[in-house]
């Protein structure tokens, strides 16, 4: 893996092929768990861990798996890894484990994990695959973090609420009350808020892309008489 490939994988994961905003994979947890920053980031990191490990373990065995059982084997590997992560969380981060609940085992069915296994890890060497899994996971985590942060901020006026569940009671004071005496805009933390928020994030990304493209072109195109149809 040379520097260019490295850059490409990182860029793909975090921006160009971002699983949350571009591939639109793994929406179920993305929408369900992003009602607070801590929940969102925790699930994002758990997914990242699983993706890194699964890509890293699928890549070395890829040539020994015959085509007809490719997917069962990948699912098996992913399921094992998820279960391991679940045990670990249950043991050492019980509060978070309760909050994330069903969504931890659901990482198995998160299409993004299998999608990376299929489209990248099954065709690339272990190191690149691990990096790809990690970066895709980080990309998802980033989207989750932004979505969770925004929803929590608008919905409750706080940030990092529930941080004690992840880091223990010592972190209780870390909760930031950004807007004191806030009425709470419940829509944001209820399920519709997730859809609206994701829609806005995707729109925002597209807008940034378009702007970058326009800048890249930036040749003085004739602007006059420009008309939109309809």
């Amino acid at each position: 893996m040379n520097a260019n490939e490295f850059k490409e994988i990182v860029h793909n994961g975090l921006w160009k092929q971002n699983p949350g905003l571009v591939q639109l994979l793994g929406l179920c947890p993305l929408l369900a768990i992003s009602n607070s920053l801590v929940n969102a980031v925790s699930l994002g990191l758990a997914t990242t861990l699983v993706m890194t490990l699964s890509s890293a373990s699928i890549a070395p065995v890829r040539s020994y798996v015959p085509n007809e059982i490719r997917i069962p084997v990948f699912v098996l590997i992913i399921a094992v890894l998820v279960t391991v992560v679940q045990y670990l969380m249950n043991a050492y981060m019980y509060g978070l484990y309760v909050v994330l609940g069903i969504f931890i085992p659901l990482i198995v069915t998160n299409c993004i994990v299998l999608a990376r296994a299929e489209s990248f890890a099954s065709k690339n060497p272990p190191l690149a695959s691990a990096l790809d899994g990690f970066m895709m996971g980080l990309g998802l985590t980033a989207v989750l973090a932004v979505l969770g942060g925004v929803r929590e901020l608008i919905g409750k006026g706080t940030l990092l609420s529930g941080i004690d569940l992840a880091l223990g009671d010592g972190a209780k004071d870390w909760v930031i009350h950004v807007i004191p005496d806030y009425h709470g805009f419940l829509l944001a933390i209820l399920p519709p808020g997730a859809f609206i928020g994701l829609g806005l994030l995707i729109a925002g990304k597209n807008w940034l892309n378009l702007r970058a493209e326009a800048k890249a072109r930036s040749n003085p195109a004739p602007l006059s008489n420009e008309a939109v149809q309809g």
């Binding site: 009425h183 805009f185 419940l186 829509l187 209820l190 519709p192 609206i196 729109a203």
Partner: protein, 342 residues
């Protein structure tokens, strides 16, 4: 290049919208008569917010501001939304609801003509979901003779959230007739016991029944000037009457009369002003009938069995989702063809 026809009728979108606004006035007048002028504050607030956000969105979307701003559609959204919010709601509630309706429900969906959902109802739904507590502070009609706030006190509450010393919110507000009905039924009272309570009048809630009547009068004006087609209001009210009637006949101690359903909540304004929004209702005659019947059924179900006191807004939104499908399956027959599309 100019294309035929070269002559057109003088009717334009802004005239249609203006007539609809006019038709709301009898209802609003009765509202003021029975509940005081606080509602005018909400309407003004909502109108200013709607025009301002509309202008900003048009600017952002690179659309000419003047022709779109003068089509009165934003004003109509604002009025309908203001009329579905309690008059004593804090000012920011009105602003947030209207802004959401215009920015998200209207412009993010492509602006006038492209919005899939009735913006006013989306605004209402957002408010009732997000601020359910504030959405329950309805005014008590004058006739009941309870403690009343004067206009200055109302303004002070709307803009500062302060009540005169010694008064609690509970003392000056009440739940809607529909909400009260639901709560009392929950407590095991029978319909006739509940209807004897002072907040109820001849048909439904004291005062609010007259407001509904005002909207019906405005609606009939729209119907007779052919601004709206008969399908939507008539089928809606008819279905609501039929469903409520069946339940009422079946068990009059638990289910109120169909007339009560007609004249409470948003049934009247909904039938004539909300369902009839052409953008978000079906285009075919058959489709309109299905749409209105579905909305009536859902309204009743949500009112009687659901978690919210009134179901008009959610029924409208749910039926809005079905509009493309309804339209697809109700394509009328074309001249010279035996069948429609399907």
């Amino acid at each position: 290049m100019l294309s035929s026809p070269f002559i057109t009728t003088p009717t334009s979108v802004n005239q249609i919208m203006l007539r609809v606004l006019l038709a709301l006035i009898p209802g609003i007048a009765l509202y003021v008569w029975y509940f005081g002028p606080a509602i005018l504050v909400s309407i003004t607030l909502a109108s200013i917010t709607a025009l301002a956000t509309e202008a900003v969105m048009l600017k952002l979307r690179d659309r000419p501001i003047k022709p779109f701003l003068s089509d009165h559609s934003a004003l109509l959204t604002a009025w309908l939304l203001a009329l579905s919010i309690p008059p004593l709601a804090p000012w920011w509630l009105v602003v947030v609801g209207t802004a959401f309706a215009i920015v998200v429900a209207k412009h993010l969906y492509g602006g006038l003509g492209s919005n899939a959902f009735n913006p006013a109802m989306i605004g209402y739904a957002v408010l009732i979901i997000s601020f359910p507590a504030h959405m329950t502070h309805w005014l008590t009609p004058h006739a009941l003779g309870g403690i009343e706030l004067d206009f200055a006190q109302q303004l002070s509450y709307i803009f500062h959230g302060t009540l005169p010393a010694g008064l609690t919110l509970d003392a000056v507000t009440m739940a809607t007739p529909l909400d009260t009905l639901k709560t009392q039924l929950h407590l095991g009272l029978s319909v006739s016991e509940i209807r004897d309570m002072p907040i109820y009048g001849r048909l439904a809630g004291h005062g609010s029944e007259m407001v509904a009547l005002g909207f019906a009068i405005g609606g009939l004006y729209l119907l007779f000037t052919r601004i709206i087609s008969w399908h939507l209001p008539l089928v809606y009210l008819g279905t609501l009457f039929a469903v409520a009637g069946i339940f009422h006949v079946f068990d009059p101690t638990h289910y109120v009369t169909p007339l009560f359903h007609w004249f409470s909540g948003a049934a009247m304004i909904g039938a004539f002003f909300i369902l009839t929004d052409p953008v978000t209702s079906p285009t075919t005659a058959k489709g309109k009938i299905i749409f209105a019947a579905g909305a009536a059924l859902l309204t009743y179900l949500i009112r009687v069995f659901g978690g919210f006191p009134d179901g008009m807004a959610f029924a409208t939104i749910l039926m809005n989702i079905c509009v493309p499908l309804i339209d697809l399956y109700t394509q009328p027959k074309v001249f010279g063809k035996k069948d429609g599309l399907l």
